[in-house]
Amino acid sequence: MHRFANPNQFLRIANPVLPWVAWLAALSIGTGLYLGLIQAPQDYQQGETVRIMYVHVPAAWMALFVYASMAIASATALIWRHPLGFLAAKASAPIGACFTVICLATGSLWGKPMWGTWWEWDARMTSVLILLFLYIGYMALVDAFDEPTRGQRAASILALVGAVNVPIIKFSVDWWNTLHQPASVVRLDGPAIHPSMLWPLLIMAVGFTAFYFAVLIVRLRSEIAAAKIRNIRIGQVHG
């Protein structure tokens, strides 16, 4: 892992990867949207409304995946002082927050016609809202200190503390009775979703994941450049 600790080493690998993940994201989101919104059948219960799933569910998965990545990156930054660990976490936070907002907004739009409500304080929805607040809190805390390293440490600890929320979100629908239904895809006895609907969903998930990595590389590049500029300026002041 420490081979990638050097930002230049990282960029040497990330720069050629970027166009590939960007194209993968564009192609699979395009294909997934076409398959999900036009080709896939309607649901026996929910009719056409089920198509919201093809955006809502991958966004929810990514909200959790990005947070888990952020927590792991923060741990490497805190424990091993990995120079890219903190930058990766900082670059991930706004992306994860966007996925969480998409998840909450599409869920609300889905809840009104199906359940009869925009919002209810059930365990699944409340824990996802807390996830959004954790993302926002992280972003606020990172830049709240005059000395960057203090903000880095405080935000990294917040990211780690918030990680307890990730399993709570995943299992909220099993531990408590909720308005939200239990898991359809990631469950012990196999997906409870017809293959004609599962495939577009999985293609969308691949697209969202590729999108995350593409944006992450772009954001990391600019974070690395900003760090270099900061060092040059400090050098000029002290030189």
């Binding site: 307890v164 009775n177 409870a192």
Partner: protein
């Protein structure tokens, strides 16, 4: 690198930080588990009809009652607005009265969550009825075929 511990190498400091983070996360996990267990009753979104018989409810206490709409129990009242139906968890049942718009998914055999108060006559007077749907997604033809072949599993919750 502090002067008080000149023997400490970077490797042991990293290991110490690793243990500190792991210990902190473990404590945090235990704390979260304790809190969530303690608030179990407040986190559940609704009570089932069986829960209602076990709970001590204050008269007029606002609660949510969830379960399946019993087959053949839905009756429209003469005023055209009030609906009466029975919520069941397949062991206990509670009659419900509701005057308002029902969500599209509301039908017999469907999961619902209703908010309201349990009257002295044992009828649950709902101020809001929400529909639940299960985690199964399939095209209508597949659902019909499953029902025809007898492989359809009714929801258990």
């Amino acid at each position: 690198m502090s002067a008080s511990s000149p023997m400490r190498t970077p490797a042991t400091r990293k290991r110490r930080r690793l243990y500190a983070v792991l210990a902190g996360l473990t404590m945090l996990g235990i704390a979260a588990a304790l809190v969530l267990t303690a608030f179990q009753d407040n986190i559940v979104f609704f009570y089932s009809p069986s829960d209602l018989t076990e709970k001590e409810l204050r008269p007029g206490q606002n609660i949510r009652l969830g379960g399946l709409v019993e087959e053949g129990s839905v009756k429209k009242a003469a005023d055209g607005v009030t609906t009466e139906f029975v919520i069941t968890d397949l062991s206990k049942t509670v009659p419900v009265r509701y005057g308002g718009l029902l969500p599209d998914l509301f039908r017999e055999g469907q999961g619902v969550v209703s908010q309201g108060t349990l009257g002295p006559d044992g009828v649950f007077v709902a101020s809001e009825v929400l529909a639940k749907h299960d985690e199964k997604y399939m095209p209508p033809e597949v659902a019909d075929a499953l029902k025809r072949s007898g492989q359809w599993k009714e929801p258990t919750k």
